[in-house]
């Protein structure tokens, strides 16, 4: 019975950590965005990339991520293959290294409406130029763009 309890309990515990405990590490109202960099194809994606799907899934590229003006944002960056980096030039944020298998956090406040381009600053693969996307902060006309 104890064995069965642990066999059922372990995935539940992990799921709880992922979905609930993690959220409580940040102030209420924080917008948590998971971004994973994949060298092959030069993709930033918001999808979960794990052992099960890394080899055959074609993840959706995160080209535009909507935010609201005033959001406190935590971006949890992952790399599933090689060393990447992350930067938001307009905010003078980064570049921060995102080593393979590590999770790196960057935080910023979306104070004004506009477009914030993020990109990989480290030449990681032949598809490196594809590793970019945009945060679209809603509220008024866009003041700046890349």
């Amino acid at each position: 019975m104890a064995v069965i309890l642990v066999l059922l309990g372990l995935p539940l515990l992990l799921w709880y950590w992922r979905s609930d405990a993690l959220v409580h590490r940040y102030p209420p109202g924080t917008k948590i965005i998971n971004l994973t960099a994949i060298a092959h194809g030069g993709i930033w994606t918001r999808e979960e990339i794990a052992g099960l799907n890394y080899w055959w899934k074609k993840p959706t590229r995160a080209t535009e991520i909507p935010l609201n003006e005033g959001d406190h944002v935590v971006v949890r960056l992952h790399s599933v293959d090689v060393l990447h980096s992350f930067a938001i030039p307009l905010l003078h944020l980064g570049p921060v290294d995102v080593p393979a298998g590590h999770t790196v956090e960057v935080k910023f406040n979306a104070d004004r409406p506009g477009v914030l381009t993020f990109l990989c600053w480290q030449v990681c693969s032949p598809d490196h130029p594809g590793l970019h996307g945009r945060f679209l902060v809603k509220g008024g006309e866009p003041e700046e763009s890349w």
């Binding site: 992922r18 052992g51 890394y54 298998g101």
Partner: protein, 494 residues
């Protein structure tokens, strides 16, 4: 009771040898009875819950590994399945468990757990009764494994197949998870169809090489007094009883003289009605020296060759070989084909051929026409066993030295999700004294050479009473062994 009825020891020994034909057992130098010295240890293994207590922690760990392999990061050095299985467990298994504990891994292995559970419908208790060949109640179809497959050839080819994809197996969490998940599933299904631990005896790839290298081990489980076994009516060690399950490995303790197929489950210690089974410590390397079939000889050849190819592929500086093996990313199919074919040829044909040549030369040089070639081929192959084990240790220990620091970081973040359970998730990669690696490998290899030659000599003494003939017969295989050592030394030390 009348004294005329009591038999003297030498009469009993003579009659015993007439009644039974014991397999050749070279006299042992010394043996230390562990259970006699520490009776508490015996009581521990006699507890019905003993196996459950040692298997379940491993089962839960493996469960975590499977979850990590499927749902954790695909980056190998940040995923617990790769770091713990292929760095920590592998090194502990080959460098500590096998030489000092024989098949003690099988005592705690979680792979057959579900199979045993389904077959016995019990985790701890025993079910006395009657199933084919046993005095216990088992569930399932009780089929006998086909006789043609009742050897370790399947394990030989299985391990070779895994080795062909080893670059993926030991670096990709999903591949490891799939392989172990598949093994657990196969073990469970086989337990419902076939008798006892057929999976472990004939299919499990880990069991294959454990069976070979456990021959060198410094421990053995044996009957204390063979005459008690002769007199025993119930043969409960192999048939089972109300105190213990029938031997899952189908071993009869009364004649057991080598470690190969004893999985150290200790059921026989529980079921023996005469309290006649004990654990012994013995000299390393030269106690069990009998290989019985071509399957075992080929196992020795395959494992030695794989130690070489693994070293070249995983530790060597040749990127081309790594790319050939790394088929899922390099996509060099012709290179992979070359690698796979070359490895298989070397393991199955070329090296066994060289060994056979050395045996033919040994026969010719020693003028040993009276000794059949087959007998010499089988018996002298033992020299490859300690050599192979120590070559694997020489390959594996630096793995831990160079990559062991990953263990510290992965403990805090087993799935690579960004956890930091013990505040060591950011522990950097720190190879431990990499400059010492050749100085660690060389003595290990030389130890392998020493024990290989020692075993060879011991077998030679059994075959050739004449010292001059014996020494001549030893020369060609010894030269082969020296050549193997030289190749490894060149590879490891330069």
């Amino acid at each position: 009771m009348a004294p005329v009825v009591a038999l003297r020891g030498e009469v009993m020994a003579k009659l015993t040898s007439q009644v039974t034909a014991p397999v050749e057992v070279p006299p042992q130098a010394w043996r230390f009875d562990v259970f006699a010295r520490w009776p508490r240890l015996k009581r521990l293994v006699q507890m019905r819950s003993f196996q459950f207590l040692v298997i379940v922690p491993n089962l839960l760990l493996f469960y975590l590994f499977l979850i990590a392999g499927l749902f954790g990061t695909p980056v190998g050095n940040k995923n617990i399945i790769i770091v713990f299985v292929w760095i920590l467990w592998w090194v502990v298994l080959i460098a500590l468990m096998v030489p000092f504990g024989s098949r003690v891994w099988c005592t705690m292995c979680p792979l057959p757990f579900f199979g045993d559970w389904l077959q016995r419908r019990a985790v701890v208790k025993v079910r006395p009764g009657k199933s084919p060949g046993t005095a216990n109640t088992f569930f399932g179809l009780h089929k006998r494994w086909p006789k043609s497959l009742s050897n370790i050839w399947l394990q030989n080819f299985g391990f070779l197949l895994l080795a062909t994809f080893s670059a993926l197996l030991v670096t990709r969490p999903i591949v490891s998870a799939m392989v172990f998940g598949l093994l657990i599933l196969i073990a469970a299904i086989m337990a419902l169809v076939y008798r006892l631990r057929t999976f472990c005896n004939y299919v499990c790839p880990i069991s294959g090489f454990l069976s070979l290298y456990s021959m060198t081990s410094a421990v053995e489980l044996r009957s204390v007094d063979k005459e008690e076994c002769l007199k025993c009516k119930s043969k409960a060690c192999i048939r089972g009883s109300d105190k213990g399950w029938a031997c899952p490995w189908n071993i009869y303790m009364g004649k057991l003289d080598r470690n190969n197929y004893c999985g150290l489950c200790f059921e026989c210690v529980k079921s023996c009605p005469n309290d006649n089974i004990s654990l012994f410590v013995r000299p390393f390397g030269t106690s069990d020296v009998v290989l019985r079939g071509y399957d075992e000889v080929w196992k020795a050849c395959i494992m030695l060759v794989l130690a070489l190819t693994y070293s070249v592929m995983l530790l060597g500086p040749w990127g081309r070989f790594k790319d050939w093996a790394n088929i899922s990313e390099a996509h060099d199919w012709s290179g992979f084909g070359l690698f796979a074919t070359g490895q298989a040829l070397l393991a199955l044909v070329i090296f066994p051929g060289l060994y056979y040549l050395s045996i033919r030369l040994a026969k010719w040089y020693a003028r040993a026409d009276a000794v059949p070639t087959k007998e010499l081929f089988l018996k002298y192959a033992y020299m490859l066993v300690p050599m192979g084990l120590l070559a694997w240790i020489a390959f594996s220990v630096p793995l831990l030295m160079v990559n062991g620091s990953y263990i510290i970081s992965v403990i805090s973040d087993p799935l690579g999700w960004g956890m930091d359970l013990f505040h060591t998730a950011d522990f950097p990669w720190k190879p431990l004294r990499p400059e010492w690696v050749p100085f660690v490998q060389a003595p290990i290899l030389l130890a392998g050479l020493y024990f290989g030659l020692k075993g060879l000599h011991k077998v030679g003494c059994q075959l050739f009473p004449d010292a001059a003939q014996r020494h001549r017969s030893l020369v060609p295989p010894a030269v082969l062994l020296l050549g193997v050592t030289a190749v490894f030394l060149k590879l490891f030390v330069g």
